[in-house]
Amino acid sequence: MSRSKFLTFLLVTILALGALNIGPAQAQEPVKVTITCRCVVGGVNHNLAVWLTTFVIPTFEEAMAAEGTPVDVELVEFGGGDEQLKEQYALDLSVGSGYDIISFDGFWVPEFVGAGLLKPLAEVVGPEVNDWEGWGHISEGIQAILSYQGQRYGIPAGTDVRQIFYRKDLFEQAGIALPWQPTSWEDVLNTARTLKEAGVEIPLQINAGTAMGEATTMQGYFMVLLGAGHHLYDFEDNKWIVKSPGILDTLNFYKTVYVDEGLGDARMQLLQDGRNRSFVAFRDGQVGMLVEGDWFWRSVIAPGSETAVENRNEVVGWAMMPAKEPGAGYRGQDFVSISGGTGWLINPNTPHPQEAWAFLSYMSSRDPVRAFELIQPRISFRDDVQVAGDLVMTAMASALLQYSTVRPMLPEYPLISTEIQLMTERVVSGEMSPEEAMDAFAEAVTEIAGADNVKIIE
């Protein structure tokens, strides 16, 4: 008797646990569509979450209800880091689940497609997606952010450019003429030296190291490497460039800044929260020049942010990143920049591809995009929407988009990017010489991509 009692107890426990297993509620009517992004009202990417919940979703639901096809859209806020979000996507897609519309960083696409986790939009929804009016207003270059091997996987949400931000107040103190626009690396370094003599604590900060992740590759390494004359990948030979005088020049630039002359603060590049420290130091007037993306301008030092720079428009200037020497940059350019971008994909496992597409195409149409511009001015992905009321953003976009390039859209790229971060870290920490670090990089990339897919430029 007592044994049966005990078994009942076990059963009850198991049932009780099962009862806690409440799956996402499936409403019969209207159709339910979920969208997720790294955005939280009152937290990270607050503006995006607010735009979705107070403007896009209500207006869309209203319009659909009026048409007699009600759709209920739910935003699932994700508060963790980008890497965790990527991890969750990979896990969910690999078992055929996940939310219907997902925010996505463009450079993840090839890796996911390579793993068989994504399908082109036209396959998920149907060929009619190609008739969407919006494509005519999005340039080829921006469409490429979420395209791979000639297929569109989603709609981009924006792009960015990278440049040097500088503190005009510190430049004036050091007697440097304004506006300032360097034309060679030597110009940049000499300006940093002048600032140092004038007592500026951290004259130049350019990202390196593994703690900053992709920011090191984009805002740091690429911005120097492209000025040394070539890309990470040779798009004609279809090979990764693993050793070259350009890579060596790039690493020596880092060495000059962080190791030999102390023009930058290596500590900030190596500590875990270094990127935040560099923002705080910039706000507090300790950093003369900082190489960053336009996100730094529109979000990090913008009014209302914890690291907002007071009188931002008067105090902070920007300049294009020069090539090593005029004309010595990638494609013979004088100046360089690189763009990334994020956007939205439709989950190939969605039970409601039509409704998801209806929402996605609506949120990417002119009026909602304009509404977002009013909340946070940024480089628009649509040519019929202008940057709203931020002349600096407009100027940066028109000056730099012509020079800008993108990352290689290849499944190996994310792994190779982590090797780049490691290579810069080894130089900046003084652990290795530029030559040794380049050798270790070549070895690692050869292992990742295969010996047939790498090349050396003597």
Partner: protein, 278 residues
Amino acid sequence: MNSFLMRSWLARALLFAFSVIIAAFFVTPLLWLITAPFNTQANLAVTIPSNPSLANFEAVYNNKFAMRALFQNNLIIGGGVMVLVAGVATMASYGLSRTHVPGRDVLVYVLILFSSVVSGTAAMVPIFLLVFRLGLIDTYAGVILVMTGGLLPSAIFIMRDFIDSIPRSYEEAALVCGASSLRVFRDVALPMVRPGVVVVAIWAFVNAWGAFLIPSVLLRSPDRMPASIASYSFYTEAGTPNLTLLSAYAFLYTIPVLVLYLIVNWRFGFRFFGGIKS
């Protein structure tokens, strides 16, 4: 003063000095947690607030997501893991102690070795796939079961010695009187091993209360996330931590484990009877 009194006075003074040093070492890292939440402008310094404010707590209280994480999700997950680990480990240790299981010590140690592999990051993808196959992704049950599996071997290891150290004569007497084995366990043995159950329960609860990796792999809905993950909602638009709110939330996050410990310590005494030995 005679030398015995002198020695005893010296011993007391030494013990006092030693206690002060140890207490200082253990408490100073926590000072920030006590002061920062009450400051309106938090940085990394320990600043006694000149004008203590509860504004941070008010802001945290208004964050429904974070509050639900702490006072609903954490309690369900922590409570579930606590009950399961303590219950299952006690039964298993009792079984191991009161019947003849060949090589039981080696067995338990091997399980601990396995649990160290399975709780590591390398196993997270296989664990995810397993939980998916069980249909328990994005459920409390999935998180509770996986965590219980990981904590169980160490819990059995700790419990085993508690149970070995209690005398068997009462149980034997009860058996002679015709009580069933489960009755003996429940009515005779359990009251005697309660201090051990309490230690293991607290240990399991504390482990589940702070867990980050397993919930972040197995849960999806913001409604079910525990506090360790909800902490991320106190980051700014640009993704930098908001120290004032984070410290206030961290403070609230710590209170329940502290209170639980104090109650248990006062009620049962929190200690390892007879230690644990192999």
